[in-house]
Subunit: 480 residues, 2 copies
């Protein structure tokens, strides 16, 4: 059976398009954080949408499961095959053409395999900008970003990947091509299938291309670093900044003193930008395109004066140069590494309604530190999105692997329980993949689970699209 399939697939894709060589395949069979590993029948690298469609048809015929993969930089094991070795790993990386620029309409059509950083650079050469960005931009592909509805640091102003997608091209589980690349601003012809595919992690089809919206390039930016007495004041500062400069405010990140201490201890070049210590810090980035650049400095200064007058901030600094701006950002970007160096911790990617985040951080930290003696909660990140990285550090002296094995699962379950109580999400931006599928099954309400399963069954009745990911297994006793 698999011989017949492999022979047909090789005929279809040619030598370059299909490999069973373990040296070629191995780098793509483990996720980049080394948490998940699997095996595969072969690595397919089709060169066009038509080849993807023909290949999926072949897979459907032979009932070969498909694991689509972009840059293999996902956080939840969504692009790693299982151990069975029955699946075909389908890489989109060879499809890396930027198909068409439309400067007037400020949009671009590109293949799914285009790397985010490549798109950034190509847009910049045209005086344009693709606003979504994240740590893995050097490997993350457009198709992967769409399939996981990726977030990042610019979501506050520009939304997640969903908000950037104007049109989509995808191959469905039966090998037909869904083409909505023509970007319509108004289209009420029934259920929005594009929205259904965005964030579906390859379980309903394979994204092969997209029409993405672009913005004018940034002409000026200002980065502020402020000290605050509490995380509630951070929320008030955010509201003031949004009210005054909502169109310019692109970043609003928070961190507690504790996290700043970790960075100052870990990064030799890091300096505390403020004279005295504060309980909380916020980093604000405001940007302007050419038409608004002249007034930016004045507006930022005025915003800060108001914040000081209203007693929202205790102290503040505005970066005087790009170098200083980068130094401020490196304090924020350095937290993950500094925290890792500090010792073992269990990490969570969670959201609650933004207005509740300050209260959640305080209550959840207290509850969890009490429940798990000796642990320490650290929350930092995207306050404006109601999304923080929520770490629980191991007690002093605990040994990483052992402690995580013993307590990690219980801690994560407790965090997810709390988040669910607060009407939040156990996956704000990293998706479900294989990592959180059981937790989603445990915590999602029955209506949601029943629709997830129903839609999956309707679109992929053979279950060949990225099996074992995202959609929780049905419980053994079916609902009446």
């Amino acid at each position: 059976m698999s011989d017949a399939f492999l022979s047909a697939a090789t005929t279809l894709l040619g030598q370059r398009g299909l490999s069973r060589d373990s040296e070629v395949m191995n780098p793509w069979l483990t996720d980049w954080r080394g948490r998940y590993s699997g095996r595969a029948l072969a690595l397919a690298s089709p060169a066009s949408t038509e080849e993807v469609a023909a290949l999926v048809k072949l897979c459907a015929q032979h009932r070969v499961p498909i694991v689509p993969q972009g840059g293999n930089s996902g956080m939840s094991g969504g692009a790693t095959p299982d151990e069975s070795g029955d699946s075909l790993l389908l890489s989109l990386r060879r499809m890396d053409t930027i198909r068409h620029w439309d400067e007037d309409a400020q949009q671009v059509v590109c293949d799914a395999g285009v790397v985010l950083q490549t798109l950034h650079q190509a847009a910049a050469r045209r005086g344009l900008r693709f606003p979504l960005t994240l740590g893995g931009k050097g490997s993350a592909t457009i198709g992967g970003l769409i399939s996981t509805n990726a977030g990042g640091t610019q979501v506050l102003r520009h939304g997640t990947m969903r908000a950037q997608v104007r049109g989509l091209e995808a191959v469905l589980p039966d090998g037909t091509i869904l083409d909505t690349l023509a970007a319509l601003k108004k289209d009420n012809r029934g259920f929005d299938l594009k929205q259904l595919l965005i964030g579906s992690e390859g379980t309903l089809g394979i994204v092969t291309g997209a029409t993405l919206s672009l913005l004018p390039q940034i002409a000026a930016r200002r980065v502020l670093f402020v000290g605050l007495p509490s995380v509630h004041q951070a929320r008030r500062l955010l509201l003031l900044a949004q009210q005054r400069e909502g169109a310019a405010l692109e970043g609003f990140e928070i961190m507690p003193r504790d996290a700043l201490d970790a960075v100052l201890a870990y990064e030799p070049a890091a300096r505390d930008p403020l004279g005295e210590p504060h309980k909380w810090y916020a980093l604000l980035e405001l940007v302007a395109d050419e038409t608004q650049a002249d007034s930016l400095q004045k507006r930022v200064t005025s915003l800060l004066e108001t914040a000081l007058e209203q007693g929202l901030v205790e102290d503040a600094t505005i970066a005087a140069s790009e170098t200083q701006a980068e130094a401020l950002w490196s304090l924020r970007d350095g937290i993950s590494s500094a925290e890792r160096a500090r010792g073992p911790a269990v990490q969570h990617d969670i959201s609650v309604p933004p207005e509740k985040m300050p209260a959640f951080i305080e209550e959840a930290s207290a509850v969890l530190e009490r429940q798990f003696a000796g642990t320490r909660a650290v929350a930092f990140g995207h306050l404006g999105d109601g999304n923080v990285h929520f770490h629980l550090r191991a007690p002093e002296g605990a040994r990483g692997g052992e402690w995580e094995d013993a307590d990690g699962k219980a801690i994560s379950a407790a965090v997810h329980d709390l988040v669910t109580e607060w009407a939040g999400s156990i996956s704000a931006e990293h998706g479900i993949g294989q990592m959180k599928r059981d937790e989603l099954g445990r915590l999602a309400d029955p209506a949601t689970l029943s629709i997830l399963r129903g839609v999956k069954q309707a679109l992929d009745p053979q279950g060949i699209m990225n099996p074992g990911k995202l959609v929780p297994l049905a419980s053994r006793a079916p609902a009446a």
Copy 2:
């Protein structure tokens, strides 16, 4: 069977909640344009989400089809039951409570039956604004607007209803309640079910409540009326205005001289705002909240100077008062009535990719006027959204009903064929309902149809949710 159902439903909803009185029911059994009429088992008017849920469970048990209805101001017969009299008409109008304001987060939670104008007024009293608006605002309900993903005149800047919905509450076809009212900015827990329900016209479930985003109130506006040599110049002017004042530009409507003539002839008070006639006209509206109001006049004047310098516009006027602004808008808003008074015409609600709209208007007008001798094409409306009202006027002397019966269907089919060739939509904002279901079935690609049907079948296996609407019937010979 229906007796048992009616008795149980009456027990559930009480006298006020269920009526079979024809005087009570009749106004809601014909759509407001008088194109579609039907009959119903009864009119149910539940008072809460819980009552809707219990009622839907009862309907599922007895297999009673449900036709959900908001303000009965739809354009495609989507809220009118069929002739059988087997369906329950389920009105959401009694659920008209604005549940909760959050001024800080700039959002409001309200029942599905809240009327749009009521929401506008209530928001204004709090210094806030709900930007979506349209002609039927005095009757259209939030639930209906969501179920049809309504558009209107502010889409250019703020998007359709989809873009205003942060959270949703809905009753699914089995009577379970899907509650995503807690508005998360980031949530990657699988397929976005909220997006699936928006625009599904009550075929997948009944919207019972929503969390909607709000904006600061408008503090100033400027309305411009410009004369243009061609519709292509209108597009260039739009691009200039978006580049310079994208955040302020809320309206960009176009009309040909021909349509202006119709309004001038029909409305006694109407005056041509420009001295000489021009081939095309555009109406621009730019607005500012309090923080931007001071500079608006200067920016609008500067924009107009640039447009004149670049030769984009032939002549222009800026309304000097709110009265003048309203007079300019009434020229645009008067087109539909003036065109109706002028004689019979077939109307279409279409979109193409915005950048193609000028070429489409020219080519489609020429093709159709040639194909249907004596007709005259008139296109006007939302150029910025790539969405125009596309009318074909009957030949001189044709008699309305007769001509429409004889030629209307062929003309609409020809328009829809052209739109489909141009990768556009046969329903830009009015939805499919019962009016365009056959056309959708004729013109949608097989992949789209198969997903529409599959999702419908998965969520509503009994087919009780608004049967006969939106989802085209499967062809008799099922696909292999």
